[in-house]
């Protein structure tokens, strides 16, 4: 396992788990968008997600993917921090790189904190209690302005994380060249916006409209 103990190998691992989570987020968003279809549509989607064998197999894999991405992210960040023990007194980092690209650990850890809240809010009740009307359960939560606010902020942070993460993970896996990079970057921006707006719109819709 020499490959994964090298810096490049660890980054590759980070990119692969990241891309796996990119796919998961899209599946999650599609399932959530059925909320706009009313109780029947969402309850059916929720039932599918709760019973489909493939989804059930993927759930522990997903959990592992999250844990691996977070732990590796922290390990890499620690290594990066000790690689420059004495920093610059004046550092004009905005002149050469984007804030989102430099603060993946900040947005990442905040999304991690949100993940805890999200699991307590939905995943545990859905798994452990006999709630049949998942739609009602979701709508109920977004009547709370604090939850709605936290969720929207988390989705904005997620969008920022993806804005860099999408194209960075592809570069790390070697998918980048002169010809396609512009296209990959635009796809990354589009994906990040779709995820951030898609999830936020649900929270805001149920808070303001219902």
């Amino acid at each position: 396992m020499g490959y994964f103990s090298s810096s490049v190998g660890r980054k590759f691992f980070m990119a692969l788990t990241g891309l796996f989570l990119v796919v998961f987020l899209l599946v999650h968003l599609i399932a959530n968008l059925t909320l706009f279809g009313g109780p029947d549509a969402f309850n059916a989607a929720s039932h599918f997600m709760g019973t489909n064998p493939l989804i059930q197999i993927m759930q522990p894999v997903l959990a592992l993917g999250f844990v691996a991405h977070i732990i590796m992210g922290i390990i890499l960040e620690y290594k990066n921090m000790i690689s420059r023990p004495i920093g610059y007194i004046k550092n004009n980092a905005n002149a050469n790189s984007k804030w989102t690209s430099r603060n993946m650990i900040v947005t990442g850890l905040m999304i991690f904190a949100f993940l805890f809240l999200h699991i307590i809010n939905y995943f545990i009740p859905f798994k452990t209690t006999e709630i049949h009307n998942h739609y009602e359960f979701v709508v109920e939560l977004f009547k709370n302005p604090i939850y709605t606010f936290i969720y929207v902020i988390a989705f904005i942070l997620l969008g920022m994380h993806l804005m860099h993460g999408f194209q960075s993970s592809l570069t790390t896996t070697g998918i980048r060249n002169r010809k396609y990079q512009k296209c990959i970057e635009q796809m990354g921006v589009a994906y990040s916006i779709i995820i951030a707006i898609g999830f936020s719109s649900i929270a805001l819709w149920f808070y303001f409209v219902n």
């Binding site: 020499g2 490959y3 090298s6 810096s7 490049v8 190998g9 660890r10 980054k11 590759f12 890499l76 290594k79 990066n80 000790i82 690689s83 420059r84 023990p85 004495i86 920093g87 610059y88 007194i89 004046k90 550092n91 004009n92 980092a93 002149a95 050469n96 790189s97 984007k98 690209s101 430099r102 993946m104 860099h164 194209q167 960075s168 570069t171 790390t172 896996t173 070697g174 998918i175 980048r176 060249n177 002169r178 990079q181």
Partner: protein
């Protein structure tokens, strides 16, 4: 023009070091940044003070010896230049300029603004070469056909002068842009393919050993690189390393 300089002074590798303020007067805007420092050093010598130690050699942007983190950027605020090519006309009269050494665990400070960048040399020695017979009977290089795009990309990668601005600019002090350029210049040519796997494996191994950080593709290196080495080389390095590891 008159300027206030805030310069990092450090007597030796063991010394703690600190920022010292200097005032320079009547600096011509035609001067290079290093010439401005020469003027300051002459005045320091005249006052029997220790001159500021900084790296410099060719002073025409091709040797990669000059360094300096100027106002928060490697080689200063201009693009595609080294510090010796940075002109004082970039600054305004009355400006305060911060001058710090390139910072990285792998670049220990020797004195003041001079850092030891031999870590990059050791990476180069670990694999940045091709083994050819140079005893006088080597074949004509032009006998091997090479596509124009590959030749161009290889030449672009070979433009790297190993100054270390990529390391200095990277928030992780990663040397990936340097290593990727050195790997790419050979990886793109048939002569380099023979030792490609060993080259990338050994160079990455040495890079990690030297204590550089991990690349997070922020792109700061590409922006600050005096030779415009592209981030596409980093993707190529990642591909080369993956293939070499399978």
């Amino acid at each position: 023009m008159n300027l206030t300089l805030k310069i990092w002074r450090q007597k030796s590798a063991q010394d703690k070091g600190q920022i010292v303020e200097y005032k320079v007067k009547d600096i011509s805007d035609h001067m290079s940044f290093l010439e401005m420092l020469d003027v300051l050093n002459e005045s320091l010598v005249a006052k029997d003070e220790e001159p500021i130690a900084f790296d410099h050699d060719c002073r025409e942007g091709i040797c990669g010896t000059c360094s300096l983190h100027i106002n928060g950027e490697a080689h200063g605020p201009d693009r595609l230049i080294t510090t010796c090519q940075l002109h004082m006309r970039t600054f305004k009269d009355g400006d305060t300029i911060f001058i710090e050494p390139f910072r990285s665990k792998a670049f220990p400070i020797i004195k003041d603004l001079m850092v030891d960048r031999s870590a990059l040399d050791r990476i180069q020695q670990a694999g940045g070469y091709i083994s050819v017979n140079t005893s006088g009977n080597s074949q004509d290089a032009n006998a091997i056909p090479i596509s124009k795009p590959n030749a161009d990309e290889s030449m672009d990668a070979a433009a790297c002068i190993g100054c270390g601005a990529c390391v200095a600019s990277c928030k992780n002090a990663s040397a990936m842009l340097f290593v990727s350029a050195k790997v790419s210049q050979y990886a793109l040519l048939p002569q380099g393919r023979i030792e490609a796997k060993d080259r990338v494996t050994n160079m990455i191994k040495q890079m990690d050993k030297e204590g550089f950080g991990n690349c997070t593709n922020t792109g700061a290196c590409e922006m600050e690189c005096p030779k415009g080495i592209s981030l596409n080389n980093i993707a190529r390095l990642n591909r080369e390393y993956l293939v070499a590891s399978i």
